[in-house]
Amino acid sequence: MKGVLSRLGLRTIALLYLAVILVGPLAVVFWRTFEDGVAPAWDALTTPETIHAFKLTLIITAIAVPVNTVFGIVCALAIVRKRFRGKGLLNAFIDLPLALSPVVVGLALFLLYGENGWFGGWLNEHGIQVLFALPSMVIATIFVSLPFVAREVVPTLREIGDEQEQAARTLGANGWQTFWRITLPSIRWALIYGVILTTARCLGEYGAVAVVSGRLQGQTETATLRVQERYEAFDLAGAYAISILLALVAILVLVAMTVIRPKEETA
């Protein structure tokens, strides 16, 4: 009896905690957005600036995710399969974007590519606009979402071992063939998982992009920056509508994660 009571007590605490912090606030935003039906939300989403913001977010994500996927795979293979000095340092370096404030990331890029920055002068001379333009926003997004693929693939690579790869090599397969036929299929779920995490991080990035983009409306404004802009313009309905769309994407990500997680674990 006592066991049942404490079990129920703990369950109540856990569920209440999640309700107060997570579910409650989201439910209120859903309710406020659709209070007057779907039409106002739809109107807020289809303004040219908002559409442009979403397009920009998608373009940045479409560049950053493949770059980080390739980097993540090569990096994971190097960490698990190669022997070299300074592996610990490499490991620490990859984790850094996870622990760093996005604003600090943005500022660092700002200082590197800005007018008075190390690369600023050269870029200016050659008429290449990096800061307050797409390139810096892509770089910032790559920076903050850098570790996810590598971090997901590393444990799986460790787990599968390298006997199969060795066997393939012994049978005459070259490096590429071994990678495509043996390594990639066995890490695929971990890889997909990592790609999903990277995508979510790219779509939601705010702080770093806020610093390097200059937040020019209709030019360098991403979806998350647009939320902020709408809020500051006292257009709460607009801010809510964009938020809801981003939240729906986040929920899709959760569904994908829930489907893939068991596959990754049994792979």
Binding site: A14, V74, D95, L96, P102, V104, F110, A200, M257, E265
Partner: protein, 310 residues
């Protein structure tokens, strides 16, 4: 080979690697399971020229990429912060507003880390040991703060706990709102580091302790807790790192009042906006230092946990 039952961790951290126990190092440098090592003794391959070439190529790519993407910007940051001499760096960092922001940031992050340690552990326990309807959904929404853009998190918190709150709770632009926002964004960390460890922990251990007359609290303190401490600590450290650097969710809900609700990341942003990039860089270097220290401590915890695994 036993599955290491690794749950998803946003950080990609898996506190216990079962394979670390099974595999061991061969002179050739590859990890093999005990069985295969017995079955075949592989010739050393690491000295093959083709292997060396591919090692050099992949290492070159990884290092160059990291240097250009991460190393150079951070070097530029440190350079800018210290280019006017250490005196000017120190003056900026020790200015009243910067100190107030830093104190608030670290204080709120510590408070949130402590809250996470307790509530996150309870949540992880409930997700592993308890059975109820809808547990799969509850388990899935734990990752929501990770998938949701932080600016949206701030806005949603404001909707429930702001001036237009339907339940009449208005904590907007107060320090409570900082704690609330940080609790939202750090929620998954402790849950996701403790959960897999609890899953691996045999419930029979707890039952044995109970059948020998130990009460629930005693069982937890003597059996469960010592096993999950490394998980809790690494989760707390990750949550702390995330909280110290958090920006997006705080921008809207805290109102950014200097000396009252302005945290360091927002303080840095303010300095950038007003054109004081050297000052912004100085404060940013302090945050960078905190991030480094937190990462180091996570590494130490991980090291300790694997050494005492078994």
């Amino acid at each position: 080979m036993p599955a290491s039952s690794v749950g998803h961790m946003p950080s990609g951290m898996r506190p216990r690697c079962v394979l670390g126990l099974l595999g061991f190092r061969q002179p050739g440098g590859n990890e093999l399971t005990v069985m295969t090592t017995v079955a075949l003794s592989r010739p050393r391959r690491s000295s093959a020229p083709r292997d060396r070439a591919s090692t050099a190529l992949s290492l070159g790519f990884v290092t160059t990429f990291l240097m250009v993407m991460v190393g150079l910007p951070l070097a530029a940051l440190v350079w800018e912060a210290t280019s006017d001499g250490t005196q000017s760096f120190w003056d900026t960092v020790s200015s009243p507003e910067a100190v107030a922001a830093l104190k608030l940031t670290v204080g709120a992050s510590l408070a949130v880390s402590a809250l996470n340690a307790v509530l996150g552990t309870i949540t992880a326990w409930v997700l592993v040991r308890d059975e109820f309807r809808g547990k799969t959904i509850v388990n899935a929404i734990i990752d929501l703060p990770f998938a949701l853009p932080t600016i949206v998190a701030g806005l949603t918190l404001l909707a429930l706990y702001g001036p237009t709150s339907p339940v009449g709770i208005d904590v907007a632009f107060t320090r409570t709102s900082i704690v609330l926002a940080l609790m939202f964004v750090t929620l998954p960390f402790v849950v996701r580091t403790v959960q897999p460890v609890l899953q691996e922990l045999d419930p029979e251990l707890e039952e044995a302790a109970r059948s020998l007359g130990a009460s629930n609290p005693t069982t937890f303190r003597r059996i469960v807790f010592p096993n999950i401490v490394p998980g809790i600590l690494s989760g707390v450290a990750l949550a702390f790192a995330k909280a110290v650097g958090e920006f997006g969710s705080l921008v809207i809900i805290t109102g950014n009042v200097p000396f009252k609700t302005e945290v360091s990341s927002v303080h840095i942003y303010g300095r950038i906006e007003s054109g004081d990039s050297a000052g912004a860089a100085a404060v940013a270097v302090v945050l960078l230092g905190i991030s480094f220290l937190t990462l180091l401590s996570i590494g130490a915890i991980r090291h300790y946990a694997t050494r005492h695994d078994r």
